[in-house]
Symmetry: C2
Subunit: 683 residues, 2 copies
């Protein structure tokens, strides 16, 4: 039986793993043998250890150590928060860029942390033991409790940051240990005009011309960190067709979802989210036209929003693509038939039907949950502070394992860091997003929903937002920290309008969340675990797990593709960027470049495309050659890469990197950052 | 064979026509016998003639003559254009309302016309004769030419407005004759605050409290018209459960579309339209916050936009409803099987497959067509004027039957009226919508699309919009009329930037349209005609045609429904409106009502719901009792009514009317319009 299955398996995955360079592999399960056979490259244990220890995780992004003195290379768009936090209404580092002329000029990123993965422990058997024999709801609670205990024990023992990780939708559980750096400083950022040349219109497009790079430095005890390992830049970059790898943290994929789950995304989740985001986009854009300072303060949130819109829109297109859905149906039908035919597996019942049942409940809860517990209704940084203060101080009084997961002991230092950070908050923007949230809450929940009536009985969305924002004191880090230190009693005594607002809806919001966890999350987790076990029994680890913002390694080649019958070359050159510039944002090349235009090598490669299987979260990942040297800096995918959320389209899915040669050209000739270039080994 | 088919037919439509009061019936095919059997009401020829001659068609709406002196009753939202055209930045008739104290105070609606249907001729055989034996493309051209000729001949002979009408998706062709009134004046409008109490949040909701009424008067030769027939108001209104009818012009339904066409709507048409509209909504709303005058000038377009968003959003929901789609699939499978089983019909091949083929072409053309030929790209009144001038003067030089259909001789007087009308245009709003259109054109067609490159090679969307709007002279009716009179030569000599813009993209836009007509419209028309012929052969006219903004009559009863297990009563009362008011728009009751609050009868019914099968275009339709007296004024449907585009959901689809009692209360006590009330027979 086993060998027949293996044959069938080989056939089933022939197109995906054997032929295509597909897969976001964990470091403990990288297909080195297959790679060596196909490309002759030896990716051995030492190679993996070195690259793993050089790879850095940022909030939502990847980066890498590129010098022995803690220099970190990542994307410009990955340090946007740091740039925005060091900007104000009058001066935007996003727009203007930043070059630290020496170490003293490096400025702190108030909320940035940087993690390096130092150990991975498989704890699947411990989780299984804790949940065995329990019903869905109890198992869901027990699983969370066990993982919290494991994290807590690990942090105590090692002093590292410990995080539990579910792989294969619950088929495996791991405990990952990170060395965490919390003093991260800004070293270099080009202007947004060249970092994101082409802006939203060119986002997820290729050919492309973006210097989407930024440099940070990790400090410890006031001194630059000397990392255990770092990568070497290879400024010449790779050749067309060359074998390359990407080390990084792909954020999230949904390739193992059932067909019913994909349909839920297509019909219930993506469309309303897109409608909301598009209206907010319109509000941001129109707001930006009211003044220069309005334009500056809205730039960072607008960029993020537009990126999200493009992703979701193309995800929706992918889910409406009958070819893909037909393949998903075939695969699922096949798997379900195998499960039924397997005496042992057949006992697990029909997890696919269980998911559909839970989905039906989700469809009834989603709207209220999104508005009252999610971010759709109270769309405000003040509100998020208030909720964090209210819930954090309340949860802190409970046993660690009994808390909402975002308030476990492990999470508290980061919360404190964020409350303490003197990040600018713009009242005009708060009013805009709050009013928008209230107005849509009223539209989607209806004017007669109890919470809506409570909020808007005498107010309009605008007057309520105005009143809240004008009266709060939560823009002051000292006020936030006093409440945080004062604990539940201090928060209960607060008459800050946002604290009052968070309090007034807390019971209802928590109840919704609990219902969702019990009636949707728990049965879906249980069903997904069953499907994952079936997959393991039938296919083993010859497949890779969905992305979970944990460290992965993938491989591919430098390649273009064929678009509507026409080949797209894998490299772009600087001269085309100048030819394409209109003089108006987002197609305006900054003055710093215009000034030295004549001295620039117009043939220098700017961006390149590869077949690497990456996704959001991989931004800032080093593109590596077979030796493990940096031959590029991943920053985007082409438009077809967005369907990578659900499957890997070998023919068209391409990743996009900044070429190292343009980094050298820019640091040298445009920004005169000779010391940095020297530190990078570039001169 | 025939009798067996009749039996099958009865079974097939048992749930739709026999049990449900469903159907938008043409006046020549109203099921009077069935109605008499079920309700005992006699809807005979005299009844039909009287009501038909009293029913008025406005642009996009319905109305009715309600006095012997040309008084016309319709919705407030149907006269919004007239109110906006008589407003300016400082003063909004939409917001403030209007009461003409005497005939002299009645003010002209510059672009309004009012049509009354006076004759209907079946010309199906003429069209069939003209297209017989031709291929799809030639048949499409021949059909258009024949219909233009018929219209032209009819107008010459009768002096009436003649329009061809396709019923049953091309199963029947008619020539409709209208008596047209072009001097329409504004008599009465309440404030938007009470006409649309609850605004967008309450739109398509019930219970509801809106005085969505307005009064116009038709003039001829400077004197009020004495219409051939008019309706009598019955201010007491109908009883719960009472048999009622609606006469009006439902705009458009898609109940006869094939499953492939419905899927096309769901996947390719609705989502991008919704995304665009939602962003524009955000831009409008944010713009409205910049000043009082901005709020005033954006109110009318925003209301229309939000209405469209709600409609499309719920249409999308309906199309994602598997129950409905399953029924559509069953019906189609049944029909296709019957066609295959019928020797004669089987010869027509597979029109369903032909539609799918044409749809695939449409998916490739839609985007460019929408941006360059449709309204998505050049979203501006100035541009529309410019295109009308450019194309109208060019087309006028061709033979009538060779022109684009919107420029036939029959259309020219209306074009001239619109060019001549001194309607206010707000440059700020023009810039907003133009910039939005350019920005999205660049996003969706890409920065490298030739037209996008041509437009934005040195400009941003904002700078281009600014430059166009600041330089145009098309805001002056005299300038527009001079170009119109001057003809193609004058237009060719014009250096107005909008005329230049329209000219620069005209060849490309026309070519796209031609391709669309030949490769999409033509085969779909041909296929739809085949399906329509099959339906006729199998089912006869026991079914009703899709809505086409032509006169229809339907019947039903005054009824609420059951919402999530709870009954919704069919009448609302004034006291609940006051209880629900928040003091903030859109839940603010105007001062005029607050001032006389104590004198008002709080038990007076405000709105009511019926089972009438209506759709957009029926707005302003009289709700009639069995005698043909006005017992309500249709203005909306409940949220479930939006799925009426595709099917009639008997259990939940409800129409909403203004109750005549609140009209009397308002005219009498709030607006002191005693003369009007007397003219309406109300005192």
């Amino acid at each position: 039986m086993k060998s027949r299955l293996a044959v069938a398996l080989a056939a089933l995955f022939a197109t995906s793993t054997a032929l295509a360079d597909e897969g976001m592999w964990t470091y403990d399960n990288f297909p080195s043998a297959a790679v060596e056979k196909k490309y002759g490259a030896r990716i051995d244990g030492a190679w993996l250890d070195r690259v793993r220890q050089s790879t850095v995780r940022l909030a939502g992004c990847t980066a890498s150590f590129v010098s022995g003195e803690g220099l970190i290379l990542t994307n410009h768009h990955c340090i946007a928060a740091c740039l925005a936090e060091n900007s104000n209404k009058e001066k935007s580092l996003l727009e203007d860029g930043f070059v630290a002329r020496d170490r003293d000029a490096e400025i702190k990123c108030p909320t940035q942390v940087a993690d390096v993965l130092v150990a991975m422990d498989n704890v699947t058997t411990k989780v299984e033991a804790a949940t065995r024999g329990l019903d869905d709801r109890a198992a869901n609670d027990a699983r969370k409790k066990t993982l919290t205990e494991l994290e807590q024990g690990c942090e105590k023992t090692t002093g590292n940051k410990c995080q539990s990780v579910a792989l294969y939708n619950g088929g495996q559980y791991f405990l990952y240990q990170y060395k965490r750096y919390t003093d991260i400083r800004l070293v270099f950022a080009p202007e947004a005009g060249i970092a994101a040349f082409g802006g939203d219109p060119d986002n997820f497009q290729f050919p492309r011309w973006c210097l989407d790079m930024g440099l940070l430095r990790a400090y410890e005890n006031g001194k630059p960190v000397q990392p255990a390992q770092h990568l070497k830049m290879k400024f010449a970059g790779p050749k067309a067709g060359e074998f390359v790898l990407v080390s990084g943290h792909p954020g999230s994929t949904d390739r193992l979802l059932t067909v019913a789950q994909l349909q839920q995304l297509r019909e219930s989740d993506l469309p309303p989210a897109l409608l909301r985001s598009n209206e907010l986009r319109g509000r941001y854009i129109q707001f930006a036209k009211t003044s220069d300072s309005a334009r500056r303060i809205v730039e960072d949130p607008l960029t993020g929003l537009e990126n999200g819109i493009k992703v979701r829109r193309k995800q929706l297109d992918a889910l409406l693509d009958e070819n893909m859905m037909a393949q998903k149906r075939r695969e699922e039908t096949e798997l379900r038939a195998r499960v039924r035919a397997d005496k042992e597996l057949a006992k697990m019942g029909d997890p696919w039907a269980e998911i559909e049942k839970a989905n039906a409940i989700a469809r009834n809860l989603d709207l209220e949950l999104g508005y009252l517990e999610g971010g759709a209704g109270f769309n405000s940084r003040y509100f998020r502070y208030a909720r964090t203060l209210l819930r954090g101080t309340a949860e802190r009084e409970k046993a660690n394992t009994e808390r909402l997961r975002e308030y476990t002991d492990a999470a508290l230092p980061r919360i404190r860091q964020q409350l303490a950070a003197p990040t600018p908050i713009y009242p005009e923007l708060e009013k805009l997003t709050l009013s928008f949230g209230f107005e849509r809450m009223r539209e989607w929940l209806g004017p007669d929903h109890p919470t809506v009536r409570q909020l808007l009985s005498k107010d309009s969305p605008d007057t309520l937002a105005e009143s809240l924002v004008s009266k709060t004191k939560l823009n002051d880090p000292a006020v936030r920290l006093a409440l945080w230190s004062g604990g539940a009693a201090a928060v209960a005594a607060s008459d800050d309008p946002f604290v009052q607002l968070a309090r007034s809806i807390d019971a209802e919001a928590r109840a919704l969340r609990k219902r969702y966890e019990d009636e949707v999350e728990a049965p879906i987790s249980a069903a997904e675990e069953k499907i994952a076990r079936a997959r393991f029994k039938l296919y083993g680890t010859a497949v890779y797990p969905d992305a979970t913002f944990t460290l992965r390694l993938n491989y591919g080649t430098v390649q273009g593709w064929v678009e509507k019958g026409r080949p797209v070359e894998p490299f772009t050159r600087l001269e085309t960027a100048f030819a394409r510039a209109t003089g108006q944002p987002p197609f305006r090349i900054p003055d710093s470049w215009q000034r030295v235009r004549d001295s620039l090598d117009m043939q220098v490669p700017v961006n390149l495309s590869t077949t690497s299987d990456i996704v959001g979260g991989n931004s800032g990942s080093p593109l590596l050659d077979a030796r493990g040297d940096v031959v590029g800096l991943m920053f985007d995918g082409n438009i077809h890469s967005i369907s990578g959320a659900y499957w890997f389209d070998t023919a068209k899915n391409r990743a996009i990197a900044v070429h190292p040669a343009i980094m050298r050209e820019a640091l040298d000739k445009v920004y005169g950052a000779k010391d940095l270039l020297r530190e990078l080994g570039g001169s």
